[in-house]
């Protein structure tokens, strides 16, 4: 398979360094491929080869990459109705023509030989092909039988219009808030962290910070593998001769560590103590930014009697007192890092001449104290004044292409409404009902079940309190990605009253238990919009036809809604009795978009997005009209019209950069939860993880991703080059732990937690290097489901589980 990329905007003065970087990347890619050829591939059905030979009849168009939250743009080459080439988009600010090894192969995801092409209904122990009309009826029957016991489980891979349609269908139609996305499992703690600190979600900064920072601190983050193009923005600066100090704070050495000058190897939850240790240093040395703090910040501590995101207000003196225990020596004791490293971090944050960017992703979010550690990292940036200048920013990254756009902005969480509104607020409900033209009181004021609770209820017998009977899954794979699968997914197999509907592209661990499988269109087989990690909203058009009878997820939702409307379900009518998805053409005539034959008669995405735009103004997340995104490689909100042009915002809350900051304010946190334009600096104590090693289970298990595969691998494992490069999961183990257990590389090892057991090959000194006492297993491999072992304990505010700290024991498998 050949891929191509291009970049016509290389600055002359950096051409040499740029070419060196490209050559290094090219070599890395080839080496990865070569390594993959050296190992036996798993029995994965291959994707068809994507040919990149450029010829005159190849039509190119833009699209964001289908994989991670970086939001790289690709150019997609189509010939004879088929994607035949992928190139990096030289006009995209995010990636400037570069792609990672997954991005170069993204076209292949469409052409795995086992695409789902027909609706399939489970009958006894086999599946029967049915028509779409029958499938829609089956879903309508389930909902009509018990609307309040139906749940929708979605995704940060939903396009914005797909998520918006599902959101409106559930909260505006059924009056049922049991809708939650898989993003609950990856970035919910970032949301609660932003809300508790600034009163509004999502980062103030953007990727430009990576171009300006002097210091980059990665908190439990491995962007060299998970966000490689962003990581290259920083390493590329070094190749040009710039000085960038890179610091990795983590629980195992990774490819990111190799590029860092400093590595702080911490124990699980050590980050809480490290952040407090930095704050302690700033105050002890009087190097905190007093002027910034006095003008722009308040102090908060948890309200133990009434835990919530507002906490209790404390004075600076109380904050100082609470931090007193966090001396470098104490931090060394509880976090496992060296005391001198805390002093070093304190000195860096205490230097006002530096620009410091913090990055984090799953390491801080998948954490039973996830909200707390998010608060604390924001807090040290605020306390030190490292905020509000390019390169001075605390920035969370997302793992999915539209975790921000579809989940956080459209609000597809169990408590949310579009635009940052929430169902528990009467004014917010009234605004949503006004925009949706619904009768007053339609929207249920009670938040629905969050992900863990939703699946727990689904996997509990109906007569024992399991009050979710039917779940419809779209664009995600909970049968592999949920924690503690033996509790939250697998019991469904024995519960005949439960019904699982799965809209999917390929057979997955989830479809194995599905009662109804719906074949879905994917990526450029449909129109779409994503919102990436830096508040950038992106758009693309359908380029090829879906496989077989596969259809858009958005159409599926609208078709079910219409079937319910036709059956007389009041929720599917607005206050004037019209269908809630009342799509009209330019002449004002109703278009029957619920009928697949007419779905593309109009641009449904444009209709839904322009309706959704009205929500974006409540929290100053203004979006431009759909047509503006057609012209752009994404725009970062808030996007406001200035002198006839739609202007994006790179840095929020900063005068001159953010149009909502009043003149003379400098910095204004205009959604402050204390209504005084101030952000909140929190104190949270260090606390141990929910589960720690013991005599019985003496090792920490941490899970994560690898460069070659994206999340549960359903797409990347069907690309032969990627599958060969990383064919299966493995147990990464420290040599001393392996020696003590009599394990050599390649030996099969039984790994067991309190919740389950799996057997994996060991890899000593492999891709990463866990410390003694820790093992690592990636979660991409559906043949080795590591989430059989992980625990479902979660953060009390974000409800996000901790996949990083389960206690396990290992044993060399018998018979070797």
């Amino acid at each position: 398979m050949t891929t191509a990329c291009s970049d016509r905007r290389i600055p002359d003065n950096s051409t040499l360094a740029r070419r060196q970087f490209i050559k290094a990347s090219a070599m890395a890619m080839a080496t990865t491929m070569a390594a993959g050829k050296a190992t036996g591939a798993l029995p994965i059905l291959p994707a068809a080869t994507v040919v990149s030979e450029t010829s005159l009849d190849v039509v190119w168009n833009k699209a964001p990459c289908r994989f991670c939250g970086t939001g790289c743009h690709v150019q997609v080459g189509v010939q004879n109705g088929r994607v035949v080439a992928i190139a990096g988009d030289r006009d995209a600010e995010v990636n400037k023509g570069l792609l990672c090894v997954k991005g170069y192969h993204v076209g292949g995801i469409l052409y795995g030989q086992d695409r789902l092409t027909h609706p399939l209904l489970k009958v006894g122990d086999h599946y029967r092909k049915i028509t779409w009309d029958e499938a829609i009826d089956v879903i309508a029957d389930r909902i009509m039988a018990a609307p309040s016991r139906f749940a929708f489980y979605g995704s940060g891979q939903w396009t914005i219009p797909e998520g918006y349609a599902a959101q409106k269908f559930m909260k505006g139609g059924l009056g049922n808030n049991h809708i939650d996305p898989n993003a609950r499992l990856c970035m919910a703690s970032a949301v609660t962290g932003f809300l508790a600190t600034y009163g509004v979600d999502e980062p103030a900064g953007c990727y430009d910070d990576l171009d300006h920072c002097d210091v980059l601190i990665m908190w439990g983050n491995n962007p060299a593998e998970m966000h490689p193009v962003l990581f290259s923005r920083v390493t590329d600066r070094r190749l040009r001769g710039e000085q960038v100090l890179m610091i990795d704070i983590g629980t195992r050495r990774t490819r990111t560590t190799e590029k860092c000058q400093h590595y702080l190897e911490m124990k699980g939850h050590g980050d809480l103590a490290i952040a407090n240790g930095i704050a302690h240093q700033l105050i002890k040395n009087k190097t905190y930014n007093r002027q910034f703090v006095e003008k722009y910040c308040n102090f908060k501590a948890p309200d133990d009697a009434n835990p919530n995101l507002h906490g209790r207000t404390i004075t600076f003196e109380e904050y100082q007192k609470l931090l007193e225990p966090y001396t470098p020596e104490y931090v060394q004791q509880v976090a496992g890092v060296h005391a001198e490293q805390i002093v070093m971090l304190g000195e860096l944050f205490g230097n006002p001449n530096l620009r410091i960017t913090s990055l984090w992703c799953m390491g801080m979010n998948q954490h039973t104290r996830g909200t707390a550690i998010n608060n604390l990292v924001h807090g040290i940036h605020l306390l030190s004044g490292h905020f509000g200048r390019p390169g001075d920013a605390p920035t969370s990254l997302t793992g999915q292409p539209s975790a921000c756009g579809t989940v956080r902005e459209v609000g597809t969480l169990a408590h949310g409404l579009p635009g940052g509104l929430v169902v528990s607020n009467p004014q917010h409900r009234a605004e949503a009902e006004r925009i949706w033209n619904l009768p007053a009181g339609r929207i249920n004021p009670n938040p629905g079940y969050h992900t863990v609770l939703m699946w727990e209820k689904f996997c509990t017998p109906s007569d024992q309190g399991g009050d979710i009977d039917t779940i419809w899954v779209q664009v995600t794979n909970p049968g592999q990605s949920l924690p503690n699968l033996n509790k939250l997914f697998r019991p469904k197999a024995d519960l005949k009253e439960k019904f699982l509907i799965v809209s999917e592209v390929y057979p997955t661990a989830t479809t194995q238990l599905a009662d109804l499988i719906l074949p879905s269109a994917m990526w450029v087989e449909k129109n779409g919009m994503f919102g990436n990690s830096e508040r950038r909203t992106q758009q693309w058009f359908k380029m090829v036809e879906p496989a077989g009878e596969a259809r858009d997820d958005c159409w599926q939702t609208i078709a079910v809604a219409r079937r319910l409307f036709d059956r007389g379900l009041d929720g599917m009518k607005d206050r004037d009795g019209r269908f809630i998805f009342d799509v009209r053409d330019q002449d004002g005539n109703v278009v029957a978009v619920w009928d697949w034959e007419h779905y593309y008669n109009v641009n449904v995405d444009e209709f839904l997005f322009n309706e959704y735009r009205a929500f974006s103004r409540f929290k100053h997340k203004d979006l431009a009209p759909y047509a503006e995104y057609v012209k752009a490689r994404g725009l970062r909100w808030p996007v406001l019209e200035v002198d006839g042009h739609w202007r994006e915002t790179k840095f929020r809350f900063v005068e001159g950069a953010d149009p909502y900051v009043a003149t003379g304010k400098g910095i204004q946190f205009y959604h402050s939860s204390t209504n005084d334009d101030r952000a909140q600096i929190w104190f949270h104590p260090w606390e141990p993880p929910a589960e720690t090693p013991c005599d019985e289970f003496p090792l920490y298990l941490t899970t994560g991703r690898v460069l070659e595969h994206w999340h549960t691998g359903t797409m990347t494992r069907r690309i032969p080059q990627l599958s060969r490069a990383m064919p299966g999961a493995y147990l990464e183990i420290h040599p001393e732990d392996a020696r003590q257990a009599g394990i050599s590389s390649g030996d099969m090892v039984d790994v067991e937690s309190r919740r389950g057991t799996i057997r994996l090959p060991a890899w000593i000194s492999g891709r990463g290097y866990p410390p003694q006492g820790t093992v690592f297993v990636p979660f991409f491999d559906e043949m080795h489901l590591i989430n059989d072992l992980t625990l479902d304990a979660h953060d009390p505010f974000s409800k996000e589980p901790d996949y990083k700290k389960s206690a396990v024991r290992i044993k060399k498998a018998s018979g070797q």
Binding site: A4, S6, A26, M27, A30, T31, A34
Partner: protein
């Protein structure tokens, strides 16, 4: 233009000689060979014709069974040449 390739040797190839020829070529960077016998290399050329020529030259070396293209990078100066 920059391209990365995988060079696959025949079972009884004189790999040392080929490796030396590749390493001596000023437009070729040689990577680390993996146990399967596959060798990653990166080639740099001014235009597509030269790139194709280098590809063909490698493929013609004695003992080289196949050359697989992994990636091609091109910029505005040489994209259409």
């Amino acid at each position: 233009m920059i391209s990365s390739l995988l060079v696959q040797f025949s079972p009884h190839a004189d790999q040392a000689s080929v490796l030396q020829m590749l390493a001596d070529h000023p437009q070729i960077d040689v990577g680390t060979q993996v146990p399967s016998g596959t060798l990653p290399v990166v080639i740099e050329a001014e235009h597509r014709g030269e790139l194709n020529g280098l590809h063909d030259w490698i493929a013609s070396l004695p003992g080289v069974a196949a050359v697989e293209v992994v990636m091609v990078y091109f910029d505005s100066q040489n994209a259409t040449q």
